[in-house]
């Protein structure tokens, strides 16, 4: 069985995003022997894109470069990608499952008269049918969903669902530039982008994440979490409860409605472990839970559990990790 799989590329901080690379790795497996993995890019500049896509496994690259594609907008991207898909009829289109990626998946599916399956964490062939697995009801259930669209089968894929392919996994195939089909006039415009707090919170790529929840008592309680994260060179995460309460910006939120993370070490401080939080971090390599309630659900997914006062335990951890890492 050989298939043509498209992966819609998103830019990251340098080159294409990590999630795009993860999906390219999976696409290669899904395409099968003799199948094709095409990296499809829309943007205003093609700098480094083709090389990045090829290095992560793309056997073909299509670049649609136009100033009107500078920032993602549903209408322009759907127009460009929809026209290309109608023309070339790929079997499958995979899209990084960011908020914009999910909007694009739904929009593109409707424009191609088919359907999208969102936020997939597994993708597998069942005979000739591609089946996605996704969290349902905030992660309380896992849904297995088949896509039987007559045209391209569209799936958005959760970040960190698949491992990064080894560098140089590709490809080195054809790079083609295609003039995008764009709407005559723009009905939607981006006025401005206000980045969170002047610095990027890179939870997705962090090897270590220290997260805080309600158990920290108040916004000032995050100081002990910040200190431990700094000692470990890690990022700071948070539960939805404290983001909703305004203690810390949304960019830090881990969970079904925030970011899905898979660091080597995840330390949850004063987080009880609502199912929607667990959905975003349960596949981390090593999970440490610190909570005063020994019955907190977070201990069910943790590898190491510490029952006690976060304000006593976390500063001790900071001190001892500092000593161990210096020694």
């Amino acid at each position: 069985m050989s298939k043509t799989i498209w992966v819609v590329a998103q830019r990251g901080e340098s080159g294409i995003s990590r999630t795009t690379k993860e999906i390219l790795g999976k696409a290669k497996e899904l395409a099968g022997d003799g199948g094709a993995v095409a990296g499809i890019y829309c943007g205003a500049s093609k700098d480094g894109v083709a090389e990045g896509l090829q290095a992560a496994g793309a056997s073909q690259v299509v670049l649609m470069v136009d100033p009107k594609l500078d920032t993602y907008v549903a209408e322009t991207y759907t127009s460009a990608l929809g026209a290309l898909a109608r023309d070339r009829k790929p079997d499958v289109i995979l899209i990084p499952g960011t908020l914009n990626g999910k909007e694009l998946a739904a929009s593109l599916a409707a424009s191609l008269d088919g359907g999208a399956v969102q936020d997939c964490t597994h993708l597998d062939w069942d005979g000739d049918v591609l089946v996605g697995t996704r969290a349902f009801f905030g992660g309380n259930l896992t849904a297995t969903v088949e896509n039987r669209s007559s045209g391209p089968k569209i799936f958005s894929v959760k970040p960190k669902a698949f491992p990064l392919p080894a560098d140089g996994a590709g490809g080195g195939g054809d790079v083609e530039e295609v003039a995008p089909e764009l709407p005559a006039s723009a009905r939607t415009t981006v006025v401005e982008f206000l980045a969170d707090e002047g610095k990027t919170v890179n939870l997705i790529d962090a090897n270590v994440i220290v997260s805080g929840g309600r158990g920290l008592g108040d916004p000032e309680g995050f100081e002990i979490v910040n200190d431990l994260a700094a000692a470990l060179g890690g990022a700071v995460g948070a539960s939805r409860a404290v983001v909703d309460a305004g203690w810390i910006p949304y960019a830090h939120q881990v969970g079904q409605t925030g970011k899905t993370v898979k660091p080597k070490l995840y330390i949850a401080c004063g987080i009880s472990g609502a199912i929607q939080h667990l959905a975003g971090m349960r596949t981390s390599d090593n999970i440490v839970a610190i909570n005063k309630d020994e019955n907190a659900p977070i201990f069910k997914v943790a590898h190491y559990g510490l029952v006690g006062d976060v304000f006593e335990i976390v500063p001790e951890l900071t001190k001892k990790f500092k000593e161990a890492l210096q020694g």
Binding site: L99, S107, G115, F137, N140, V145, T257, F299, A302, K319
Partner: protein, 264 residues
């Protein structure tokens, strides 16, 4: 200003939720269905625009006669009219197909400036209907809206803030447009007692697929491009090592474990 809010009933809890052979989500023993918790935020958004600019707000859902209950709740909150699309052919519809039904209902109501939905349904969490509606009706879409900055029905423009992973994006679109709103955009109002009493006496018109010009073969189990095969509990956890002692002892043991595993 004419707004249409699309609402949805969802099972009260995930306990006992399953999927039928044709892909229809069902609650144990026909269990309780409620208004999706995100929907009052969508209704409030439309009502606040109406309060400021005048006009009318309509609520629509697709399903079966059971969903009349949530449309009466929308009336009690203050929407002017509610409409139910109920048809046996809808059984097993996926979100992609439901978007076709709601697009049909929007055309039937007609002459709208703004369509509003929640940003993700509490049960399927898919976020499909909003962007699909935009395509089917050929209007702009703005999803994950956390603030409506300006709504100008005369100049036919809306300006919103979208909250994305790494910041806030200010966007503008021409009207008519469809938006999805996030929880917390406004505090939803409580229905007044008078509102509840009045709503209980209102008739909710029910439309069939034929009434709204939607071909039954494009919806339901057979017409849906995707299908839920199964709903299962999440994978079982691996087991935890509880570390005990004083805070200092616990910290020492944990640091040892992590250093031994060469994680850092």
């Amino acid at each position: 200003m004419k707004a249409i809010v699309f609402v949805k009933e969802v099972p009260e809890t995930p306990e006992g939720v399953s999927v039928s052979e044709n892909g229809q989500v069902q609650a144990a023993g026909g269990g309780n269905f409620l208004t999706d918790p995100i929907d009052p935020f969508a209704i409030e958004t439309a009502l606040q625009i109406k309060d400021a600019k005048g006009g009318e707000v309509h609520a629509v859902t697709a399903g079966n006669s059971r969903a009349e209950k949530i449309l009466k709740e929308a009336l009690a909150m203050g929407v002017d009219n509610s409409y139910l699309v109920a048809d046996d052919a809808l059984e097993g519809s996926d979100p992609n197909a439901i978007a076709r039904v709601l697009a049909g209902a929007a055309k039937k109501i007609g002459d709208y400036d703004l369509l509003v939905t929640g940003d993700r349904a509490a049960d399927d969490n898919s976020s499909i209907v909003t962007a699909a509606l935009a395509q089917l009706l050929d209007i702009p879409v703005l999803t994950f809206v956390s603030e409506v900055v300006d709504f100008d029905a005369d100049a036919k423009k809306i300006r919103v803030v979208r909250t994305l992973e790494n910041g806030r994006q200010v966007m503008e679109a021409t009207l008519p447009a469809v938006i999805s709103v996030m929880k917390g955009i406004h505090e939803p109002r409580y229905p007044s007692l008078l509102g509840i009493r009045k709503a209980s006496k209102r008739e909710v018109p029910s439309w069939s697929l034929a009434d709204i010009g939607v071909d039954p073969s494009t919806v339901g189990a057979a017409g849906s491009p995707t299908k839920i095969r199964s709903l299962d509990p999440p994978p079982a956890p691996s087991g935890v090592e509880m570390i005990t002692g004083s805070p200092e002892e616990m910290a020492a043991t944990l640091v040892q474990r992590i250093m031994d595993k060469k994680v850092l």
